[in-house]
Amino acid sequence: MGYTVNALTKSLNVFHLGGSACNNCDIEILDALTPRYDLERFGITLVGSIRHADVILLSGIFNKKARLRMLEVLAQAPRPFLVVAIGGCPASGLIFRDSYNFYAAPADYVPIDAFIPGCPPKPEAIISGVVTVIKALREGAMVPKCLGEPDRAGEMSPVPQAEGAA
């Protein structure tokens, strides 16, 4: 456990999964990854494939259709990985809460490890949130929800079959 967490937190590959967001959080995420903030100092790099991801950044409310795609993508991620919600939308839906296409806040059906609040959070807030998560993991105050142990394997894959998904 200690070895796994240490190995994971020393080298985080970030995958950015945005769905039905207003795009502000996505821009702030990209901002946080620019040379100005130089997250590579901490071994954090952006990757393009979900198979390479260690941290999945969620932004937006994931409306009725985007939600199914998001769950499918999450089910393809190799364990152990962390899910970090950027902005207020994944937690509560914020202003999209009463939209016709709103299903539920992702916090209600995705195992999110950490929330970085803000609308949108500044790059500094994102970095501070990631640092807090890394510290909590190393001190053992927090365990990744998707560790990949066999008994937990089924917990994470609520990819819905009904509702005309395909």
């Binding site: 190995a7 040379p35 071994g43 393009g48 190799p78």
Partner: protein, 307 residues
């Protein structure tokens, strides 16, 4: 030469362990120089090692419906190839007398294996983006192998031997033909490492990792390690061919010159990577079959004439 010694050489000193460690450090140099070009601090020295350790705790995802055996075997093909290539190269550098006739040809073939492994793995993964990446990799190989063979021919003509041990003493880079061949060799090295401007098989922005898209966990780690080892071995190969290697000659000076030449080659590669956009596949083929091949051909003719 008994078999235990050969085995130890393969596993420890010029082989696996040494090449892996040196390759990871080289990839740190690559990332650090990149960071300096972008005016930032960059990763810590041991970051490539942390990355590799991370890959080995991750889950290995195998795509459904792909060729599972080949998918998992493909990373090892390139890994074995570059390890053997480094072993042969360093044995020739350390002790030019023990090499065998024609080892240069074996070396050129072995240095081709990583690209072949990547192509096999990409096609075995049954991912359309990986297939596109794989076919681009093949086209790139077809493009750069011709000038690369011509480049290798120049030191061979100058030394009139195809044994690596006879080549490492001379310094063809100081002649006209050698300098031209080295220039063409630099372009080939850039393409062989599939880094910008020749990174179309991976194409982060359009193929999102391309040939590696379906790989996760240890197999991906082996791929990254293979690439790091290639980033170390290919400049060593050029140094051995054109600058006389690291170890030949009395005293410390030849070793330092070799090291300096190696570092300049790596730094040049990284700077080119950071200052050029990605070419299309057809542009890369035209580039290699046009100017680079002509340059290499001119170098061969000059070497034949004795310049």
């Amino acid at each position: 030469m008994n078999s235990t010694r050969v085995f130890l050489e393969f596993l420890l000193f010029p082989g696996l362990l040494f090449t892996a460690a040196a390759g990871l450090l080289t990839s740190w140099v690559d990332r650090k120089v990149t960071a300096m070009v972008q005016m930032r601090v960059g990763p810590p020295l041991l970051q490539p090692f942390y990355d590799l350790r991370k890959y080995f705790i991750k889950e290995t995802c195998v795509p459904e419906g792909g060729a599972t055996g080949l998918f998992l075997l493909a990373p090892l093909i390139g890994f074995a190839g570059v390890t053997l290539a480094s072993l042969i190269l360093w044995r020739a550098l350390l002790n030019p007398q023990v090499t065998f006739v024609g080892d240069l040809i074996v070396l050129v073939y072995l240095l081709m294996m990583p690209a072949l492994g990547v192509v096999l793995g990409a096609f075995a993964s049954r991912n359309p983006l990986a297939s596109i990446g794989g076919s681009r990799e093949i086209q790139l190989m077809i493009a750069y192998e011709l000038p690369l063979v011509l480049v290798v021919l120049v030191p061979v003509i100058q030394a009139e031997s195809i044994r690596l041990g006879d080549l490492v003493g001379g310094t063809p880079a100081a002649t006209w033909s050698g300098a031209l061949a080295l220039l063409a060799g630099l372009a080939c090295m850039q393409a062989k490492l599939t880094i910008v401007p020749f990174d179309m098989p991976e194409a982060e922005t359009e193929l999102t990792g391309g040939v590696f898209i379906e790989y996760s966990g240890p197999p991906l780690g082996v791929y990254k390690l293979t690439r790091a080892m290639m980033l170390f071995t290919l400049p060593v190969f050029l140094v051995a061919l054109f600058f006389g290697g690291f170890v030949i000659g009395p005293g410390l000076a030849p070793k330092l010159w070799g090291l300096l030449a190696w570092f300049v080659l790596v730094a040049l590669t990284v700077v080119i990577r950071n200052t050029t956009p990605r070419l299309r596949t057809d542009q890369a083929v035209k580039f290699f079959w046009g100017p680079v091949s002509l340059l290499a051909l001119a170098a061969v003719v000059l070497a034949w004439l004795g310049y």
